[in-house]
């Protein structure tokens, strides 16, 4: 059977249904979290990636299991795409001992080091150097893994962006810096906060490739990132891939979104990455309407199940307060 779609070598057509399901898992997970925050069932704060599912799923789809990622404060999607269980994630947001961080990290710090998720990060730009360091490990120990470093348009204005990418480029480290450009750093429009149109243009000053992809088109993301990952794995050093996308929700739970128009939001909703993937899969005959519906329903059920799991999980005891601290 000839391939109907242009896919990177790591991704086969048979994998696409799974990726489609991951997108829905992310969508449902985020919407559930949004609902619980609104109801006051989850405390603290959270940053939702609704609308950005394709850049997370598409980027990670091209990785091998041994590869690693560093994530951001808007990291639930990366987690799910890197294979995290929604149960453990939801439990973490509920602050329970069954959460990925035993209830001590919360939304911004979900990590699964064993599975190669080196952690979300509450510090904007905090992941650049950590990803670079992980890539250094890969290079020094000749482990062959590649590190994906997710960051936003806002983080590209941090000093750590420059220092880390410069370092990764001179040492030719196997790391790919993925900019999920969702147009706003909190309330700051990217076009007002930097003097170049694309973050990817900045790659030139480090002597590395920089490529812009349609962040709402999972296929474009997979091809762009796939190329960069192959390059990194081949020892040719880092790249920047910039996925243009949009977050449907506000920056965090308390955001009146005064800095953008409802019309603009509506325009981007029409570019819904999940719907676009579904259309292509159905049109290309890789998925029937019924199968697509079933996948969606399954994803929803799994997320619903995670709520039960979280709600029925034990709270940490006060004895746990001083666990895992050594100094």
């Amino acid at each position: 059977m000839t391939q109907k779609l242009n896919l990177p070598p790591r991704v086969a057509e048979k994998d696409l249904a799974d990726l489609y399901k991951q997108m829905w898992q992310i969508r449902f997970f985020e919407e559930k979290v949004d609902e619980f925050f609104a109801k006051g069932m989850i405390h603290g704060t959270t940053h939702l990636a609704v609308g950005q599912e394709a850049s997370a799923v598409g980027s990670i789809a091209v990785l091998e299991d041994r590869d690693k990622i560093t994530s951001t404060h808007r990291g639930h999607g990366h987690c799910i795409a890197k294979g995290a269980e929604v149960n453990g994630m939801m439990a973490e947001l509920f602050g329970r001992t069954t959460g990925y961080c035993k209830g001590k990290g919360g939304s911004m710090h979900i990590a699964d080091v064993e599975k190669g998720n080196l952690g979300a990060n509450g510090i904007v730009g905090g992941g650049f150097a950590i990803a670079t360091g992980a890539a250094l490990t890969s290079q020094m120990k000749k482990e062959g893994f590649v590190v994906l470093c997710f960051f936003g348009d806002g983080a590209s204005n941090e000093g750590s962006f420059h220092e880390a990418i410069n370092l990764a480029s001179i040492w030719k480290l196997p790391v790919v810096f993925i900019c999920e450009n969702n147009q706003y750093g909190m309330s700051g429009p990217a076009k007002e906060m930097m003097n170049v149109g694309n973050v990817a243009q900045r790659a030139e000053s480090y002597g590395i490739p920089g490529k812009v992809v349609d962040g709402n088109d999972i296929f474009d993301v997979m091809n762009g990132v796939g190329e960069a990952v192959d390059r990194a794995r081949n020892g040719e050093g880092p790249s920047i891939v910039e996925a243009k996308t949009y977050r449907w929700k506000g920056h965090s739970k308390s955001d009146a979104k005064k800095y953008r128009t409802r019309e603009e939001e509506k325009e981007w909703r029409l570019k819904d990455p999940i719907e676009r993937m579904r259309l292509i899969l159905v049109v290309e005959g890789l998925l029937t309407e019924e199968e697509a519906e079933k996948i969606k329903a399954d994803a929803k059920e799994e997320v619903e199940g995670s709520v039960d799991f979280a709600a029925n999980s034990p709270h940490p005891t006060l004895d746990d307060l001083m666990e895992d601290i050594y100094a």
């Binding site: 690693k68 560093t70 959460g99 990925y100 961080c101 035993k102 209830g103 001590k104 990290g105 710090h109 990590a111 699964d112 080091v113 064993e114 080196l118 952690g119 990060n121 509450g122 510090i123 905090g126 650049f128 150097a129 950590i130 990803a131 670079t132 360091g133 992980a134 890539a135 250094l136 490990t137 890969s138 020094m140 120990k141 000093g159 750590s160 220092e163 880390a164 410069n166 370092l167 001179i170 666990e323 895992d324 601290i325 050594y326 100094a327």
Partner: protein, 327 residues
Amino acid sequence: MRELTYLEAVREAMSQEMRQNEDVFILGEDIGVYGGAFGVTRGMIEEFGPERIRNTPISEAAISGTAVGAALTGMRPILELQFSDFITIAMDNMVNQAAKIRYMYGGKGKVPMVLRTPAGSGTGAAAQHSQSLEAWMTHIPGLKVVQPSTAYDAKGLLKAAIDDDNPVIFYEHKLCYKTKSDVPEESYSIPLGKADVKREGKDATIVATAIMVHRSLEAAAELEKEGISVEVIDPRTLVPLDTETIIESVKKTSRLVVVHEAVKRGGFGGEIASVIAESEAFDYLDAPIKRLGGKAVPIPYNPELEKAAIPGVDDIINAVKETVNRL
């Protein structure tokens, strides 16, 4: 036994570890053929090569974060910061990343790294290259803080720091680099959190760190001539702190003088004084606790002023006499 300088002892500890453990490597500015700003790594690149004696760009934010990322993925990096003043630039990675990761990830992740850095005044390097900022680091749960004063201690404590699975800030005092003591050739470890009684006495206890240990010993020798017997304790590690040894000594002598070079205001001396005030040693105190520390002023360039900004031997002698009512 042969004598080594403090600087040679630090180098020997690193070299011995690197011969044994492939995961240990050093990164830092000008540590390659230059041998480091103070010559600590001189000759090491010849033995271990540029892969493991990793010369970095002037990017403290990136190299500190890279050390965190490498440590998190299986390496045991030693980061040399050229001057401890530059920790300001590496602060985010030490405070928000390295110190937090193990706890924030629910114990599922570790950061075994050592940040070595020369501290202190006395070299005419003025305000931005002469500070003693260790108290900052002791305030952060998740960072161990080591401050050796002798060559013997430096070697043993550095081995313990490298072996530790958690981030350790290792302060080397510039004026100690040239001091000598007997150092065994074989590798040995001094446990973190064990103070050393550098001199026994019965009339007063001095707790001193780094270069002040030497000044206190000089003061103690002078005081001996006047019939005042002084016990000098070097905590060696501030976090964890060996409170027991200090408390027992104060119970014995009933008098405490704390001496450090760091600015007295907010300095670690306040912590030691508080430990005593809160402990059972309180009822044995026969004089107010005396703290000696640097004056609240940036370290000046003029040599006389520079000297006057921090405690000297005479200051220590006077402080002890005051506490024993012999002034």
